[in-house]
Structure formats: structure tokens, C-alpha cells
Amino acid sequence: MSTSYALLGVLGRQPSYGYDLKKDYDTLYGNERPLAFGQVYATLSRLLRDRKIATETTEQAAGPERKLYAITNLGRKDLEDWLVTPEKLHPNTQTVLLTKVVSAILLDKEPRLYLDAQRAAHIERMRGLTDARRKGDFAQSLRADYALFHLEADLRWIDITEARLETLIKEIRGE
């Protein structure tokens, strides 16, 4: 979903060949998760079908002909609507963490072990991101910041859950 808007956004600045489009995407949105060519062309064909982009075939002096992709008026309108529409919030992102804690309690295991391990894993990831943001360009460091603040939110939840574990255990066991 947002991949197609990300690509529309790149095309919104100037028409582009498929290969350049992929390269721009990877630079802007993170070389850690590069877009597969297959996904680029699948997304482009969907956008073509929906008339949000159009192609122009250019003759090459040598080699095969290349398709130049450009955004249409319809595509630009859709992109601009999307830009000002707030995202739906996902209240269930913590489901996995919570499920592990509750399941540990149901099985009479020690949920603290899981929470400690998860905390360490989160901080390890944050350490990697902190390092990356120091070495990266500005866009990269903003991307890292976004991830860092979200991991921090998880950690706050982990801390408060750990602090209230006794109460949670009593509640689940119906004591």
C-alpha cells in the first residue's frame, strides 16, 4: 500500500525509469530493506492499470528500449489526498508481547524471563540504530529516530508490565 505511494511520490518529482525508481526508493527509505525489482514492476503495473501513472517508450541508441514512467493528474490527486489523510492507529501491535506474558502466567512459567530477554533484545536493536544514525545521512538518522522512539514505547510497556506483574498474575489466576 504505502510502497505504491512512496513510488508515486518519487515520480511526482520527475519521470523516471524503473531502475532509477528502485534506486531512489532504496536511498530514501532504507537500504536495509531494498525493494525487489519484481515488486517495483508489479507495483508499477498496478499503478498503470489504475491510470495513476503513464509510460513513454524512449528509443535507445544501443540496447533495448526503456520505459519512462510519469505520474498522471489522477495519480497526483490520489497522492495528495493520501498525504493529508491521517493513518489508522493499530492498537494491537503489542499483541504478541502481551500474549507471551499472559501465556507464561497461564502455564505457571516465569514471565519475567521473557520480559528481560525482550528488553535486552530491544536495547540491542536500539544500540544498532543509535550507531547507524551517527554514521548515516540526515534522512537515515530520522528513520532511525522513528524506530528508536517506537522501541522506547515498547520498553516503557515492558517496564510497567514487569512492575505490575503480581497484580496481573492474581487477576489471571482469579485470586
Binding site: L113, D116, A117, R119, A120, A121, H122, I123, E124, M126, R127, L129, T130, R134, L148, F149, L151, E152, L155, D159, A163
Partner: protein, 236 residues
């Protein structure tokens, strides 16, 4: 720098530390190691004993039991006088509220520990002034430290701690009163300069984003230190 500076030698070790305040046990068999050049974060809930541990490591508190080793010496068995000398020459301190001397200028504050260590006056001030560009507050050398913002004052406090090139810096919630951006500047400065000097840094923080600047973190819980179960990390 950290590659050549880091060794597996422990600069600082705490073994089985016990400390009570009246009937309240604050430390109950706490163990901790820090290597040369290592940046170590101490995390854990409020009241768990983090600050008490830091104060015992730094020779400010004498533990009731257990041992503190600094570079092969028993810190906890030293006289008050020896510990004071050690704190002045080998340790740097950064706390939540800078404890700069507000009536003194920013450069006076950085020069002060050097003067106390008998560095001559012009040398002390030359070294103090050399920090300001890096602190990002060039031109504020003669401002009274009471006139600095919280983030600026914290950066001066870090320069003051690092100026004597200590073996270990102890920091207790060094960014506790700062916003995200100012915290980041403080941590970049602290960790960056400490790595260059090969200084060990022990930071107490409840903020995971601060802990993420460290090479390793431990969690204090009910007066004991727990290290999360996972692979041993290499020191960077």
C-alpha cells in the same frame, strides 16, 4: 581508538556489595565489572539501588560488605583521605543537575579540577578553553554558569569531568532534565570524548535511548545486578 584502547582488563570491579541505610537494604550482593574504555549503562526501577551502587563504586559511600576494586586496588579499604585523592585524580562525575559552581564562569568551572590537581593556571585555562568549540558554545567562556541553559550546563559539566583525563566517569541520570535533542548532544559528547580518551563510563539511566549509547547494559533489581540472558558481547 576504542579498538586499540580497549582491553579485557577490568578497570572497575564490584564483588558482592552490601549496603543498608538504617534498616533499608539498598544493595544485597551486587556484582559488576567494567573494562577499560567500556561504556556501561546501569538501568532498573526507581529505588532499586542504582545510585547507591554508583556511589559505592566511586568511593563516595563505603559499602557495609563486599569489595570494590579499581585497577587492582581495594577502593573500599582505603582511608577517607585516599579515596578523596582518588576521586579528584582518577574519577569524573556528572549528575542530573550539573553541580557547576553558578557564580563561576563556564571556563572557571572546567579549569577548577585541573587547578585542584596542581596544573598551573595558564595551562589549566588553555585546556579549559580548548573545549568550547566542541561543546558547541564558543564565545560563552566568560558567561557565569548559572546563565547557561540546562543542556549547555550539562555539556560544561562533562568537559569538567573529562578535563582531568580520568580513568572512570560516573554519571547519574546525566540527561534526566533535558529534552531529546539536548540529551543526544550530551551523550554524543560524553561517549565520543570518553572513547577518544579511553575512559570508562558508568551511566545510571532509566532511559533506554541513553542506554543504547552504551556498549552494554545491566539491570539493578532489589539491590542486585542482573545481566540479561544473551550472547556475550564483544567490547567495541
Amino acid at each position: 581508538m576504542s579498538d586499540s584502547g580497549a582491553t579485557n582488563r577490568y578497570v572497575l570491579q564490584a564483588k558482592n556489595l552490601e549496603k543498608s541505610f538504617g534498616l533499608t537494604p539498598a544493595l544485597r550482593g551486587a556484582n559488576l565489572d567494567a573494562r577499560q574504555s567500556e561504556v556501561l549503562a546501569i538501568m532498573g526501577p526507581s529505588g532499586s539501588g542504582k545510585s547507591t551502587l554508583l556511589h559505592c563504586l566511586a568511593g563516595i559511600f563505603k559499602p557495609d560488605g563486599g569489595e570494590v576494586w579499581l585497577d587492582g586496588q581495594r577502593l573500599d579499604q582505603m582511608s577517607e583521605e585516599e579515596r578523596t585523592r582518588l576521586r579528584r585524580t582518577q574519577f569524573g562525575f556528572v549528575f542530573q543537575f550539573g553541580q557547576l559552581v553558578p557564580e563561576l564562569t563556564a571556563e572557571d568551572n572546567i579549569a577548577l579540577p585541573l587547578l585542584l590537581n596542581k596544573v598551573n593556571r595558564s595551562e589549566a585555562y588553555t585546556r579549559a578553553r580548548s573545549w568550547f568549540k566542541r561543546l558547541g558554545i564558543e564565545g560563552m567562556e566568560k558567561h557565569r554558569s548559572g546563565e547557561l541553559s540546562g543542556g549547555q550546563a550539562q555539556r560544561v559539566a562533562i568537559a569538567r569531568a573529562l578535563a582531568i583525563q580520568p580513568k572512570v566517569i560516573f554519571a547519574d541520570e546525566p540527561t534526566g532534565s533535558l529534552d531529546s535533542l539536548a540529551s543526544e548532544q550530551v551523550m554524543e559528547l560524553l561517549v565520543g570524548a570518553a572513547r577518544e580518551q579511553g575512559t570508562t563510563v558508568v551511566i545510571v539511566t532509566h532511559d533506554p535511548r541513553i542506554a543504547a549509547y552504551a556498549d552494554r547494559e545491566v539491570v539493578v533489581r532489589d539491590g542486585q545486578v542482573t545481566t540479561a540472558p544473551r550472547k556475550q558481547q564483544a567490547v567495541r
